[in-house]
């Protein structure tokens, strides 16, 4: 490896050729503040427009200051990262950014979690010396995301996520100069666009420009209403991340504390979306085997591969971008919606509560879930199967507001019957998990043999597109996995072009799967956090007594008492769905 020698703050170090000053400084233990820069290296995502100019440093012999994030170290370079010229410039640039930013920090959704606010605090800004006109824009509220772009600092992270990572193409820098901002086409609202509500823009926004629609008040109101029975379900990825909001190490599992906290909040029944994940495997796995068998028997009308359908961002994506392929994904509803449908029928009946008096709340690592539960097809007579979906972050706020000392809570269990789950359900929270869970069940159902080893290492990892072949007793089943919608697009294009030979494909909209969801605690650019959450998910799976969905006793009971068998008529009615063509068709109007 070729190296170069540089002097940085009087320290001589040797770094690989091509290393940026920012990375070299990090190696030397020197912290250079950054704002627009974002590097999720485990996910191979990098944003470096060099636009904010906060990371500037002095390079001897150079006329102006150099942005550390993109300037490569050259042999013999002498760098000062914090002399008076650098500090004055940085502070002035920060003051300029603040001068075009609202100062309503106290009531901002990102208060305490804002990178700009933190920087202002670290820099000790007490006065903005360059006050002047501020750029103002219209606020935009969609079913899941709020855009308050007065707070946009043009870091372009959201634009990069939306275009390069997710290839959704909803956001772009628009206008020029002082009025430039990131917005959808024609500066229309998000709900007029092809937004999937994946929330990755929200996950990386350093300020309060992009936030989730807060539904905690509706939840509090429901909890306070004595006429309502309030049921809560919590998604697998939540337990692997919520602890971060309470100062715990990333990757700490808080399943027991989570159940306890939800009970303290006043939910009448504390259930688990994992139960519904097991149910999903029953339906989706059966559908897979059904399609597969028919296909192998020569029925050419059966489309393969089958694609998973539990990710609502992904569903939005193909409805907008690949509507002609909407017969390929599984018709199985997502676990959130399966839970809602079962809760408002089977469970409501069981406890003798009228549908209208039962409120289902979901805790999700996801913002697209907010939109999903508002879809018309998931309501009966206007009453939605899931009433409110709140994110992991919103739950943390709710717990803090309610004077619950989360860290000191003793572990508790979920309630039954909708709280029991298997290890297969837990791994829904990470990329590769849904398909691994499906394989565990499909293998046993198809071959009639007991699976000796339930861990499929070949399906795990963080690579954006993964492929594996699983031997179903002599029948090779080819499996594809993609996370991040840009990678999903690649797989879809291959299917469209007839280049794909997979039997089944799992797709998750967010990089990393639900553990990296748009509703999770903010990672602030540290991708090791997402990795730690993934490890926690697999740890939870390994610790479970039952690790295959079809062995969940309450699932077996549900089929016996209520549904009959997977893909039964009742299942179809309650647990399956159909998709819509939401593409923009150009139709001429005279």
């Amino acid at each position: 490896m070729e190296t170069v020698k540089i002097t940085i703050d009087n320290k001589v170090i040797e770094v690989a050729k091509g290393t940026t000053i920012l990375k070299a400084a990090k190696e030397a233990g020197i912290h250079i503040p950054t704002l627009c820069y974002l590097h999720l290296h485990d996910l191979n995502i990098e944003n470096k427009p060099a636009g904010c100019r906060i990371c500037v440093v002095e390079v001897e012999g150079r006329r102006n200051l150099a942005p550390a994030c993109v300037t490569e170290c050259l042999d013999g370079m002498v760098i000062n990262t914090h002399n008076i010229r650098v500090l004055n410039s940085r502070k002035t640039v920060l003051e300029l950014i603040l001068s075009d930013h609202p100062t309503d920090c106290l009531i901002c959704a990102k208060n305490g979690n804002c990178e700009l606010q933190t920087m202002a605090q670290e820099f000790g800004v007490r006065k903005i010396h360059y006050e002047g006109e501020q750029s103002t824009y219209r606020e935009d509220t969609s079913p899941a995301i709020i855009r308050d772009v007065d707070k946009c600092i043009m870091c372009r992270r959201c634009e990069m996520m939306c275009n390069e990572v997710q290839t959704v193409g909803v956001l772009s820098a628009v206008n020029r100069g002082f009025m430039s901002v990131v917005a959808p086409a024609f500066e229309m609202n998000l709900d007029h666009s092809e937004c999937t509500y994946c929330g990755q823009c929200v996950a990386v926004c350093p300020t309060g420009a992009l936030t989730e629609v807060d539904h905690t008040n509706q939840v509090i109101r429901a909890l306070a209403d004595p006429t309502k029975t309030v049921v809560v379900q919590t998604a697998p990825a939540v337990r692997a991340a919520l602890g971060e909001e309470f100062g715990m190490e990333p990757g700490t599992l808080v399943t027991g504390k989570l159940a306890a906290a939800l009970r303290r909040l006043g939910f009448n029944y504390v259930f688990d979306t994992d139960f519904a994940a097991d149910l999903t495997i029953m339906e989706e796995g059966t559908e897979l085997l059904d399609r597969l068998t028919r296909h192998l028997n020569g029925d050419k009308d059966v489309p393969l591969p089958i694609l998973t359908s539990c990710c609502p961002g992904w569903v939005n994506f193909f409805e907008h971008q690949f509507p002609d392929m909407r017969d390929i994904p599984s018709t199985a509803r997502s676990p959130q919606q399966m839970f809602g449908a079962i809760a408002k029928t089977y469970f409501a009946e069981k406890i003798g509560v009228k549908r209208d008096d039962l409120v289902v709340v979901s805790i999700m690592p996801c913002l697209a879930k907010k939109y999903e539960c508002q879809r018309e097809e998931f309501a009966t007579d206007g009453n939605p199967d899931v009433d409110f979906s709140i994110s992991t972050r919103e739950l943390a706020h709710l717990i803090k507001q309610s004077n619950i000392n989360f860290n000191d809570l003793a572990d508790e269990d979920f309630d039954n019957p909708l709280g029991e789950s298997t290890g297969a359900a837990v791994i829904f929270g990470t990329t590769g998990g849904v398909i691994e869970a499906a394989v565990r069940t499909a293998y046993e159902v198809h071959t009639g043999k007991k699976l000796e080893k339930v861990d499929f290492e070949e399906l795990r990892g963080m690579d954006f597109i993964r492929e594996a072949t699983i031997d179903f007793n002599g029948l090779p089943i080819r499996i594809g996995i993609a996370h991040g919608l840009g990678n999903a697009r690649k797989l879809l294009q291959d299917i469209k072009d007839g280049k794909s030979n997979f039997h089944a494909i799992e797709i998750m909209a967010c990089p990393g799967g639900c553990i990296g969801g748009g509703g999770q605690p903010l990672h602030h650019g540290d991708s090791s956090i997402i990795k730690a959450r993934q490890k926690a998910i697999y740890r939870e799976d390994a610790g479970k007594a039952i690790r295959k969905s079809h062995e969940n006793p309450y699932i077996i009971q549900l089929y016996e008492e209520f549904l009959g068998k997977p893909m039964s008529e009742k299942s179809h009615h309650l647990l399956h769905t159909h998709y819509f063509d939401k593409s923009k068709e150009i139709k001429v109007v005279e």
Binding site: G51, S99, M154, A173, R176, G177, S180
Partner: protein, 597 residues
């Protein structure tokens, strides 16, 4: 040009065109035909002669008579008197402002005496829409020489030796740029001509493309040969329809003659040129922004390195030079590096074209050897300040440059001297200002431009320039303080130090140079609340001169805020605290009694 006895050259540049030179051309052609002179006299439209102040210009060859401010109605007289009877039309000749003598030959006119036209060598001499005329003046000879007798490296060596530096503003050595692009390994390389002339007040590139498009085409092909690229692209402003049209015609003609296309002149070298249009963004003059714009993106610059020579248009090595730089190339090949480097100053070789404008008698396009002083340009070529007013400043380098004053008049103009004086060469705009110009307002004007043209990508330029503008505006409104001047200085320094591209890094120059050179004016604005030039309306005060006031009451009756008191036939007085400075009193006073101070 052999078969005609006489040639009538009519300037077809944008300036003269706007003064009906097209109608003049038609009239000349019709009358020549009526008189049956078609076989003896050729009437053609040429590119810009440069002397826009006196346009439309008509030149008669071979006797080299230079007619100024010719109207369409003058066509008949020129033909009947000059062409038929051989008598020059005296009233249309240029009058020397010194001695009121009529001068027939441009060589003896102050405007042209000190000029040396290399880049503009063909402008005004040939019909830009006729390739034969370019070829008759050694056109495409340099390209032929390169393709048949020289290796790319030999050509690059000549360019390096000539000392030619980029005329677009940066002044990067052209030969070196070509060499770097040559060394970059790639299957495809591009030659880009930057014709996105955006400096307000500079129009040399447009004039070259309108007057001599083939010189640019030839040079681009030579450059392609040197770097090993077959694709040429001209990025040109959509606001230049005439230049676009002439360039299109020229490219078509060059293709017809086999001077563009496959295997040019029987060699292995192939080269062709396409046009790409700008869409009104000054920042696209910056080469990385220009490249993004050509790729169909927002014209936002990116950090260099990588330089376009290594990774440019669609990430292929791309050599970007501006129009004027290219226009110099064929002559250098034809006449040699020594000839070129013998002209100019030590570190800046050759000539530079300047667009002389503002409060100067001879507005126009001039070309002088590097090292000519500002005094020579302003007083000898430019004919001094308009209306006998006092010279105050000259702004060079456009929005990126600075304002130079009296004390800089004897500085020889070249890249390095201008930077040392606090300004820069830029693309060659030169705006002269007189005592009526307020330097704070001038700085504000340029910042208004920068704010409008900032791409918005980096915070110092997007927000910082807006704040500079706001502070300047505050000062011109009479609300500024001493502290504001310090804030201007600090903010300017930070913007220069931290902005992403050349636009932002130079945008505070007009502020810093006016603060440095016109400190007193800034102080007057903030402490005395006075604008000596009278431009800052908010700082003016209206007074009534007791000597001239007859007490007609017209002013008082027309004052919208009743700020004027006085009896009929008595002297009137303006109450300064009520006055809104609308100027109605001054307009209505028939006795010149109202004045401003």
């Amino acid at each position: 040009m052999a078969k005609y006895k006489m040639h009538v050259l009519v300037c077809g540049g944008t300036g003269c065109h706007a003064s009906q030179s097209d109608l003049l051309l038609d009239n000349l052609k019709t009358i020549v035909a009526d008189k049956g002179l078609d076989n003896e006299v050729q009437v053609i439209a040429t590119g810009c002669f440069g002397f826009c102040e006196k346009g439309p210009i008509v030149k008669i060859m071979p006797d080299n008579t230079f007619y100024t401010q010719v109207t369409p109605e003058d066509a008949r007289e020129i033909i009947e008197e000059h062409l038929i009877k051989g008598r020059k039309v005296n009233r249309l000749l240029y009058v020397d402002p010194e001695n009121q003598e009529h001068i027939a030959d441009s060589k003896h006119m102050g405007f042209y005496k000190k000029q040396l036209r290399i880049a503009l060598r063909n402008c005004g001499f040939i019909d830009p829409e006729n390739i034969d005329e370019y070829i008759a003046r050694d056109g495409y000879e340099a390209m032929a020489k390169c393709l048949t007798e020289m290796t790319p490296q030999q050509v690059i060596d000549i360019m390096k030796k000539s000392g030619l530096r980029g005329r677009g503003g940066g002044g990067f050595p052209t030969g070196l740029k070509w060499e770097i692009t040559n060394r970059s390994v790639s299957d495809i390389k591009y030659v880009v001509c930057n014709a996105d002339e955006g400096d307000p007040g500079a129009f040399m590139d447009r004039s070259i493309l309108e007057g001599d498009p083939h010189s640019v085409i030839e040079a681009m092909a030579i450059c392609g040969y040197c770097i090993g690229g077959e694709h040429g692209l001209v990025y040109i402003r959509a606001e230049y329809p005439l230049a676009i049209n002439r360039l299109k015609i020229a490219i078509e003609q060059a293709r017809e003659y086999g001077l563009l296309g496959k295997n040019i002149l029987g060699s292995d070298f192939s080269f062709d040129i396409e046009l790409r249009y700008g869409a009104g963004a000054f920042v696209c003059g910056e080469e990385t922004a220009l490249i993004h714009s050509m790729e169909g993106l927002r014209g936002e610059p990116t950090v260099k390195p990588p330089f376009p020579s290594v990774s440019g248009y669609f990430e292929k090595p791309t050599n970007v030079n501006n129009v004027e730089t290219f226009a110099n190339v064929p002559v250098i090949i034809n006449k040699g590096a020594e000839w070129f480097s013998s002209i100019g100053s030590e570190k800046s070789k050759g000539t530079k074209v300047f667009a002389l404008a503002g409060k100067i008698n001879n507005v126009g396009l001039i070309e002088v050897p590097m090292g000519t002083t500002l005094r020579e340009v302003i007083y000898e070529i430019g004919g001094g300040i308009k209306d006998g007013k006092k010279f105050k400043a000259v702004q060079t380098g456009g929005p990126s440059g600075g304002c130079l004053t009296e004390k800089h008049l004897d500085v020889p103009i070249d890249y390095d001297n201008l930077i040392a004086s606090g300004s820069m060469m830029g693309s060659g705009g030169m705006i002269v200002m007189d005592e009526d110009d307020c330097m704070v307002s001038v700085a504000k004007f340029y910042l208004d431009f920068t704010v409008e043209e900032s791409c918005g990508k980096c915070s110092p330029c997007r927000i910082g320039n807006k704040r500079l503008y706001e502070i300047l505006d505050k000062i011109t409104q009479g609300k500024g303080t001493r502290d504001d001047i310090d804030r201007l200085r600090n903010l300017s320094t930070v913007i220069k130090d931290t902005a992403l591209c050349g636009l932002g890094q130079t945008s505070p120059n007009p502020v810093l140079s006016t603060i440095d050179n016109f400190w007193d004016e800034y102080i007057e604005h903030v402490t005395d609340k006075k604008c000596r030039s009278g431009q800052c309306k908010a700082l003016l005060q209206y007074f009534i001169d007791a000597e001239n006031c007859v007490g007609c009451t017209a002013c008082a009756r027309n004052c919208p805020v009743n700020a004027i008191a006085g009896e009929r036939k008595g002297i009137h007085v303006i109450d300064q605290t009520t006055c809104i400075k609308c100027g109605a009193c001054m307009e209505k006073c028939k006795f010149n009694a109202v004045y401003i101070k």
